[in-house]
Point group: C2
């Protein structure tokens, strides 16, 4: 044990400091980011985190907060730093009268969803990594996911965040007030700051009424413009909560990798997965909306939960299926809807020109113009490929990171979308919160 390990053991108990077998902390989920953890410490309270931060500030050692380690941009990968394993902070307390849940940073999204369901309510954020992704991680990255179109991102669910500043002080509004405009809202600013300003230890989140009925449909389209036009029309319908786009190549990959039958007798270039919720007769409402939609080549409307699961599988298994092909370039962009179809059409030949061996996989939350673009068959470290794609995105007025954040992966391209003056203020703000640069060093801020 080193002096550092001894000091940390005194703060949290020796059982909660780990100095060997650290590889699980050092590598991200995709295998793209491989780092090295000096040691890992697993605190049980916000106060213990305060002690850990003071120790690391004094020792000039970086701290990397980690939850489910499901991030996709290297934002939780250490580089000789101490990993702060937050998974012991996993309490989930539902207040059904207030319609709120208080969840520890280490509670999984699935645990919060289950607790809400048990109270007849639901949590508005859902994503495919729900069984591993934690509340702390989703707050730190402002995760959006599958229902953000209608229910909002993590920020929209936040009543309050409890976080620990680099000084060790805990900030929190404590009382679950939904209305409080008393000065700068630091807890809210922490959302989306990727662990660089403070360590999220808990969040109080709003819960929503569970809709009485829901229905799912898979719609096939002859081309991208028809599918995007349908999405633009459907997203204005309050009953529509999910609008996911998939392409023929991705569907074929999922069917092959997961041994699933093809969704339709013939292949279609573009599919939309659509879900409607309603007080009653969601299938009828969805059916009527689909009926009125031009350009639909084929449609499968689910009539029960088993149907719904079967249709959802095509979408949810995309990420895993692509990872089976190889370590992907993971890009997560957003486009203005009017530019969406042309971008998807033009990015394929642009990649093929430089990397004829590349396979491009695209799917995403088309209701918000959010496109997940993965590329396999190319060296994952070849940043020239990312450069080609992200310049096209910026030129189309899009975002270089729609929901995954910047992490270590996307810093190089921030100047495409943010001015030097603005990034200068970011650096000053980072110094205001974390003058020693202890919190998640090397993440978010461009080098």
């Amino acid at each position: 044990m080193t002096d550092l390990a001894d000091a940390l053991a005194e703060a949290v108990g020796p059982l909660h400091v780990r100095t060997d077998d650290l590889s699980g902390y050092g590598t991200d989920w995709t295998g793209r980011w491989v780092g090295h953890a000096r040691l890992a410490v697993a605190p049980g309270t916000a106060e213990e985190i305060g002690k850990i931060l003071r120790i690391c500030v004094d020792a000039h050692i970086g701290i990397v907060p980690q939850g489910g380690n499901t991030g996709l941009v290297g934002g939780a990968v250490p580089d000789g730093d101490v990993v702060l394993d937050l998974r012991r902070l996993d309490t989930v307390e539902v207040d059904p009268v207030a319609g709120q849940v208080r969840a520890g940073a280490g509670a999984t999204v699935a645990a919060v969803q289950a607790a809400a369901r048990a109270a007849g309510l639901r949590y508005g954020v859902d994503l495919a990594s729900r069984d591993s992704a934690t509340i702390g991680g989703t707050v730190a990255t402002n995760a959006a996911g599958l229902r953000a179109l209608r229910l909002g991102d993590t920020r929209a669910q936040m009543i309050d965040v409890e976080a620990v500043l680099s000084t060790g002080a805990v900030i929190s509004r404590r009382t679950g007030l939904t209305r409080d405009n008393s000065g700068y809202d630091l807890p809210r600013w922490v959302c989306g700051s990727e662990g660089t300003l403070a360590v999220v230890t808990a969040a109080r989140l709003r819960l929503l009424p569970e809709p009485a009925d829901r229905a799912t449909a898979l719609l096939a389209f002859p081309d991208l413009p028809a599918a995007v036009a349908a999405a633009a029309s459907l997203r204005r319908e309050p009953a529509i909560e999910v609008l996911e786009l998939m392409l023929a190549a991705g569907i074929a990959l999922v069917c092959e990798q997961q041994a699933l039958p093809a969704p339709f007798p013939v292949d279609h270039p573009v599919l939309l997965l659509v879900e409607a919720t309603a007080p009653a007769d969601a299938a009828g409402i969805l059916g009527a909306l689909v009926e009125a939609l031009p350009g639909v080549a084929d449609a499968a409307v689910g009539v029960d939960a088993a149907d719904s699961r079967r249709l959802w599988a095509y979408r949810e298994l995309h990420t895993e299926s692509v990872s089976r092909v190889g370590v992907p370039h993971k890009l997560d962009v957003a486009l203005p809807l009017p530019a969406f179809a042309s971008f998807v059409t033009e990015v394929q030949p642009a990649v093929a020109q430089g990397w004829p061996e590349a396979a491009v996989w695209m799917w995403g939350h088309v209701g918000e113009g959010n496109l997940h673009l993965n590329v396999t068959g190319v060296d994952p470290d070849d940043e020239d490929l990312d450069d080609v794609v992200l310049r096209m995105v910026a030129e189309a007025g899009g975002s270089i990171s729609a929901e995954h954040g910047i992490g270590r992966a996307k810093q190089r391209w921030l100047p495409l979308v943010r001015s030097a003056e603005e990034i200068a203020v970011w650096r000053a703000v980072k110094a205001a919160f974390d003058p020693t640069g202890t919190l998640n060093p090397g993440v978010l801020l461009p080098k």
Copy 2:
């Protein structure tokens, strides 16, 4: 003309610099805050504001942004500073396909509401000062208002903010993307920072579908606990969009000042104004909810728009009626709902003990625990009264400023609800954005 006026005249044109008749800029709406404007400048573009900021930074002169001047905490009152009159920035552009509006900082809330309505949509923020309050001011204070219970506060409507940094640089995401997690979200942080971090010049805001039907009811209760229990139950109903509490004294004052008939044949201690929206039969839905509610002593359910306006008048005329009695102490607090009734009951005798001549007026957005508390008949500068009330609020776990902000009025009590460590970070953040302290000096940060 001074050198300063000459420099500003060169930046924006001499017609838009005003050096005399400045009293309208120096005094707030309530008459409580009387300041002094050095001069007023009315820019026409964000770029002109950048020039003005650079001139004032160099001259070491403060800048106070002002819109409709309807703030209630002295947050737009100058103290020898330059007033930045933003009312020329009043463009309103609706994008009905995206369901968004881009509004200049000087556009009134009513103008945005009207433009939305013309496109068959609506803007989610509504407040009694809608005809004067501007988008810039409501973004800078994160105004909430009458429908925040269901539709959220100004922050919840924000797609993007355009703002000018103290360096003169304009920050904005431009393209109206609803999904963008590319680094610190400075435009969003500016919301609620009361003009101290950057000058808001425009906002892109979401618009919502106009509900097909709505209905209003005025409900009478025999006591506070019954009314609060009813509010706690109704706020869980998705159809309920408005939940406003009024007391007998306020109703009597409004009737007297505005020559209105009493709402019920007999006086009731507590009233709730309730509004429901629905795709159809809102009156039927509201009637059924009221029917099932225990403790209702009397009820008036509006059947048409004229009824609705008549019932709303009792609530909307509160602020103006109180101001006719004298310059009020204006307190705007939030309480956890379980503490709401006992606070309202106990604050009256606590004030009477020290100020027997005081009249206490209370009403507010009870669905969110938000209580507007005004006191007349007492010297407006007697801060000991505010101290008594705000200490009671803090002890009950409440907020000293639910929606009006801190301004110049509430700084003294920030330490009741925010730690010294947290406020130290605020100061560092302020310096990061505005190292010369040019932006709205003396506002928000405790002296």
